[in-house]
Symmetry: D2
Subunit: 286 residues, 4 copies
């Protein structure tokens, strides 16, 4: 772990946000893809600068958790970590590559050793594979195998491996929350339209959440699939023409993060295992 602050974790519960940064942050991959350059986010509220992952991390830090931010490359999360500390929160960055079983194992060994067993784990990793395929390559036959394999690692195998890392301790302890940050493409297989990522593997993330709900609820572990059913406010999306024209389409990640925290605070006599969030301006996906 790259951060000496972990020694300050005594007495704080640990929340791990896997994929705490955003492809739409000011210098994110999607932002550069859509706008051709990094953007200046200094005038944006700090809550929206790093998408959902960043907003969740800030929210749980504000609620008193020590938050572990995982990311492929630590510098991506540096701004977020600095913002959390400015707000008086505690956090650390841990590098983690979801396509590598060794990386996952090592990251959680580090987390357990330096921060402690997580009470909350939020799987927020995403990918953008498929997004830049041209209009005449919409059909599945044009998806390269490597693209499918990447989607599989992020949406299916990664969650399986993370589950194996974090659930045994939660089960033995009889408490814990394991939440999946998912999107509407997880609800069923749909045609991939030009500009969309290869998202049908996200149904596996949801299916895993359903399996774990049936298997671990009785052991006191709260599992949920959260369906974020719209475009999320961020430096990169806010600058898109369709959002500039209709700001009602966009979802505030601060509000999304509140929904994640609400789920964690539910009494175990009344657990929700799937939570869909849709802007009022659009019809809910199904």
């Amino acid at each position: 772990m790259s951060d000496a602050r972990t020694t300050n974790t005594k007495g704080k519960q640990v929340a791990v946000v896997i994929g705490a940064t955003s492809k739409w942050q000011s210098d994110g991959r999607n932002t550069r893809l859509a706008h051709g350059r990094a953007l200046d986010d200094s005038s944006l509220p700090v809550g929206v600068r790093w998408g959902i992952g960043g907003a969740i991390a800030q929210k749980f830090a504000q609620e008193g958790f020590f938050v572990v931010l995982t990311t492929r490359a630590a510098p991506n999360a540096a701004g977020l970590a600095a913002a959390i500390r400015e707000q008086g929160g505690g956090c650390a960055i841990v590098e983690l590559d979801l396509s590598s079983q060794d990386s996952i194992r090592n990251a959680f060994a580090t987390i357990r050793r330096d921060a402690g067993d997580p009470e909350v784990v939020i799987y927020n990793a995403g990918y953008l594979e498929g997004r830049d395929l041209p209009p005449d390559q919409e059909l599945l036959e044009y998806i390269p195998v490597e693209m499918f394999d990447t989607a599989h690692h992020i949406a299916s195998r990664g969650p399986f491996l993370v589950a194996k890392e974090v659930l045994p301790a939660m089960r033995k302890r009889g408490t814990g929350s394991f939440f999946f940050s998912n999107n509407s493409k997880s609800l069923r297989g749909r045609k991939r339209m030009t500009g969309e990522s290869l998202y049908y593997p996200r149904v596996m993330m949801r299916a895993l959440a359903q399996v774990l709900t049936e298997e671990y609820s009785e052991h006191g572990v709260h599992v949920a699939n959260i369906v974020i059913d719209g475009t999320i406010d961020s430096p990169g999306t806010r600058a898109l023409p369709k959002i500039r024209q209709n700001p009602d389409l966009v979802m505030n990640p601060v509000k999304i993060a509140e929904a994640f925290h609400y789920l964690h605070t539910q009494d175990r006599c009344c657990w929700t295992h799937e939570l869909q969030l849709t802007p009022f301006s659009t019809r809910p996906s199904y």
Copy 2:
């Protein structure tokens, strides 16, 4: 309206709870059916004495709403109204028979006149038709037509009529919450087992919620179907043998009421239109 306190509604938002009493309250119909007599609820927490409807009414009163309690016969809700006032809340009782279009129209005319246009309407009406059919009359062919008609009035026609009463004002105002308190039998048609009510008409309540979600969200009205997926704590259910043996099966109506209130507080950029609540001890219905 039977209650002079409605003059105190100035400045308070109005929440209407349709079906604010419980068939499992100390002297409720189910309580008498299951236990052969009324029970003493004086040792129970006040939050659980009148089931979900009572807990929702108390919660919204505590949050500053003026709460209208509807019930077939005002005396059924007298204890609940007294409890709300003891807690410092404001409420009124309005009699309403969901099988009568005139009764619905009159009740809402009274509510609008004496309390004001409702900001929140929670449809919590239930029925127990079918519950006392013997084991050799499980099949649909044994359901009397009158039983079907009653279920239809509570689960399908009543909600349609109430929607027509309350939605125009919410739409014009651009705000409002209209929530349905439903159960797991609303998710699909299932075989009715001995001791169960004729619940398949509840799928219509859910379908209506889906229709209204698509139709009224863009007008600023929050519609949701809440699936209460278990047995609710109350004087009558707490005394059942299966609950005495396994208290983990039971859902605290105070926590359920918090979920209703949470939905109402969601920012409109992140609305949830179906919320299922399941005790940790059981697998979620679907």
Copy 3:
């Protein structure tokens, strides 16, 4: 029963088609509504002249069943009955008003007495309430109560009453097929668009099919909900501009009828309880 041919039923199994005529037949209500007059159907194949109900009746007659055609007014089915007899089939017309419990009871008493206990019952009744509401009255608040009540009688209460009439004999005999001819609006509640009927009550027809599947399969009765997911060829629809421009959108009722007959021939070790039929040119509803 209005037809002496029923004396010829000896040795033939009985199939009842409830709603054997079509609102889109040459002189049907929808045809007159859409085109302002009756159409000439003499150049159309006989299989498509009376929509799905007519095609199902012809198919089962061709397969050796004595077919009972129910309709509100016998003259509506006269042309269909004549066509079946020309094809060498046996049939009879019975008048039946689905909004009347007495009418349903009397019709089935007649059928049992004159034709025999039905082996196959296909519920194909439809309605068009809501179709002529103008664009500024799309929302549910504009639906008159009478319109809702009619939809309820055709889509929910009628099927319940018919089930009570036909299932006891099928259960005792240990054989029989009870199929519901439904549409894609039965899959969930959707916004009603201008020109559409008030179709959300059709979810109840599907829910009933689900209930009866769970209750009667083990007794040897095959229940199924058939989701006809597109526009059906008929004199009235064929003449619509959007169909004239794209004939691939339209479904041949002869092929739909074959699907109903296929379901009836399934071995009971492999029963299908919901069958959706979608033209290749469109994406399946869900």
Copy 4:
């Protein structure tokens, strides 16, 4: 291709059955696992000796197709191939390992060269990983990564790779059927019970079928997910105690194969994209 008979394919359409043999055939892996030895199947009808794959292959051969049987090791399919030829049908065996992209590519190159472009492809591959984990290792945390990877190759990556092989030619030709033989665990994630395989990855096979349905229907390709919702008759299952006691639980693969062939014969104006088959004795899964 191991079989000179492919020279006889002129004039016959080609049907490929991927996974044409059965783990429950007389000497199959499941049969040996459950009974401790191979069984004698000489007294069983030839239609049930090789499970669904074998019955589908026989059915399409009887209907005039040249059938390609794929299997990991050619000797597994020798008895089936002999039976098809005895019935006057034409077939060939092609070895194919679904965990290897090269093997899939080579197998389809062979099929195209020796038999021709397939008109029908039925993906019937299965696996049994997880079935022998003991009762105290039901939870996901006990599933070895290798087991997950095998399930992924058969249920998710294999179908993706096969789709890429067969769909371009079907799309260009404007005809073809691509069917997935799946089970009820594909409908959602469920707890894995002792003795069950790790089946939640089968939701991906279904999601792929949904994607391909939306993408390829308009190009004339019929895609469907078939949910076989029960135990299939075969030498190995017929000898199980629970089936010997209740033969009504078992599904005849000959009848299942007829359902696959029925789907292929559907007119494209009325395509079904998901077909669930359930024995009358049990309630349908969902």
